[in-house]
Structures are given as structure tokens and as C-alpha cells.
Symmetry: C2
Subunit: 169 residues, 2 copies
DNA sequence: CCCATATTGTCAGTATACTGTCAATCTAGA
DNA sequence: TCTAGATTGACAGTATACTGACAATATGGG
């Protein structure tokens, strides 16, 4: 017996995990931008600042691995952060291809000052859920992202992507 | 006593719901495109096709409410679907501003044929979790998206957005 | 009927994201 | 050492997403 194809309704969209992830991403960005409007920083730019703060002198390729962005995308992000004078780019002496990234004074200040707003945004995203459910969702999401890591073009290569920093570079 | 600001580490990024949602969205799109590569349809284009299939003669503004996209974004999506001859746009007789959207024969065929691939993609996204956890995650996500509906620029206005279709138009 | 207001599709501008390509450069193996 | 292959940053092209603006059109109150 063949199973008949079910009729196509909007439920096919509304209940699909892919749709829910897209929708939640939209909402999350919206909340972030609203809470952080005073700083004129997008979520991506914020993540890049944190990574450069944590790993001063990182290069663009390694940065892309550490925050799981495409190298192409990251190029533009870096450009914008540089034009806002939040970061500095210095050519590496050991490898003429590489440009090393550093937080500027202004960048460090912005990063320090934006943290409470970021924190508020993150809380707001999960606020509508009961506390226990927030924990559950976060745990499952963390698990799922980790287990699906290889499915995206730029898998996350957290800290260990930097193990050979200064050795190869 | 003031609480000291915690040191800024990558954990501030990795454990933030906003980061996890962005990451999961990347992964979801990646899986969708891979499974549906034979059809050259993006997730957004697929959602638009389903909505137009379900509501033939819908206009762009109402379509945007039904799938929760920006009207601006949707304009380009519609253009692409039209240039692929998957949909048709006909001017409304009652309202000269409005262009009504219909699935073409080709559009209906593509939509019918792509469904199994879409289904596979949706399954794959949650595959790494235990079955019970998939259910839990999906339920919490559905809840959260619903409760946060108003937080995004274009809140979802599902079917009831169409209640007055043909009355006002 | 007229006009203030709202709606519709469109456009310009910005910012992710991805694919694919390229020249410059580096590295490792023969 | 010389060179095949890899890496790096950059670029072009496509596709979401959003903000804000606009002309054309529609609607409702006076």
C-alpha cells in the first residue's frame, strides 16, 4: 500500500522546524537590534568583537572558524568594524597574505559597555517561556547545533582552531 | 555591593540563545538546499509557493503576513518565482494597486514534486536528537515563536489575515 | 464630492549569508 | 631547490532581511 501524499496546507510550513528556526532567528535579531540600538552594532558584529577581544591578533580565516561565519561574509563585517574604528588590521610579518585583527580602544570600550544590553536581549528572547522550559530549550538547542555542526558550510571550530596560531602564521 | 562584570569570553557568544538560533538557521538552510538541490528552490521560495497554492489570488501584502516576511523582501522573491515561471501575476480589477498571485502549472508540479525532499530536510534537521527530545524542542520552539510573534517586524498573521480578502480588495 | 489618511507595490540603501573564482603567497614533497 | 598544491584575503554574483521613502491609488469623514 502506497501512502497517499497529504494535501498541501500552510501547516506544512508552520510546523516545519526549518520555518520555526528562521522565524526565531528573525525575532532574535529584532530583539538584539532593539536592545542595542544605542551602540549601532549588529549581532554578527558583536560576536566578531568578542572573538577579536578574546583572541587578539587573530586573522580573518581563523575568526571565521571561531564564530562559524563564511569567510566571504566576514570580509564585509571586518570592513565595517574597521570603518567604525572599532578594530585595527595590521599586516603579519611572518605571512604576507595575512592581516591580523586587534580591538581598538574604542572597540574595547564599546564591547564593555554593550554587554548589559546584550544580556537583556538574550533574556528577552526566552522570556515568554517558563524558566524550566528556557533551560530545556537552551540545552536541546545547544545539543542540536553541536551535533549538526558539520552540516553547515563553515562548521564551528572553536578555540582549537587557534591551537597553531603563531606556529603556522 | 555591585556585581562585578564577568570577563568577556567566547562562552558569552556560544551559550547565547541568539547565537544558537542564528547557527541553527544556517544549518537548517544548508540542509534544505542540499536535499532540494534538484529543484533550485530556496526555503523562502518554497514557503511562498505553498502559501500561493493555499490562497490562490492572494496579493503580496497579504502573502507577507501569511509567511511573516517583509514586504520588501517578498518583492524580490516574487520576481524570482515569476521569472522561473512558477507563478503568475495578474492585476486586480477592483484595486489598480494590487497584483494577484497564482501558481502556474509548472509551479504546481514543482510544489507537488518537491514535498518529499522538503520532508526529508525537516527530518534531517532534528535527526541528531532522541525522538522524545525532537518533540520537546519542536513544542517549545512553536510556543516561543508564537509568544514572541509581535517582536519581529512582520508578525505572522496566518489565515485570519485573509478574512477580508475580496471584501476590501 | 473633497481631502486627509492609509494602503500597495516598488525602490534605494544596508547587512548578513552563501557559491565560486582569483592572484598572491606559503608549504611540502620529489 | 623547484614546483604542485594549499591557504589567504578579496571580489563578483545571488538571495534573504530590514529601514525608510515614494507615487499611485483607495477610503472614509465632513
Amino acid at each position: 500500500m502506497q501512502s497517499k501524499p497529504s494535501p498541501i496546507t500552510m501547516d506544512a510550513v508552520y510546523t516545519a522546524p526549518g520555518y520555526l528556526f528562521r522565524r526565531m532567528q528573525q525575532i532574535a535579531v529584532s530583539i538584539f537590534v532593539e536592545e542595542c540600538s544605542a551602540f549601532d552594532l549588529t549581532p554578527v558584529q558583536y560576536a566578531a568583537l568578542v572573538a577579536i577581544h578574546t583572541h587578539p591578533g587573530i586573522d580573518a580565516t581563523r575568526l571565521s572558524a571561531v564564530i562559524a561565519f563564511d569567510r566571504s561574509t566576514l570580509g564585509n563585517v571586518i570592513e565595517r568594524l574597521e570603518s567604525k574604528a572599532l578594530i585595527e588590521r595590521k599586516p603579519s610579518r611572518e605571512d604576507k597574505r595575512v592581516k591580523l585583527l586587534y580591538l581598538s580602544k574604542a572597540g574595547a570600550t564599546v564591547l564593555r559597555d554593550i554587554m548589559p544590553s546584550v544580556e537583556r536581549a538574550q533574556v528577552r528572547m526566552l522570556q515568554p517561556l517558563k524558566p524550566a522550559d528556557r533551560k530545556t530549550l537552551l540545552a536541546l538547542l545547544t545539543q542540536l547545533v553541536d551535533l549538526n555542526n558539520e552540516a553547515s558550510r563553515v562548521p564551528l571550530r572553536a578555540e582549537d582552531a587557534l591551537e597553531h596560531l603563531g606556529k603556522a602564521g
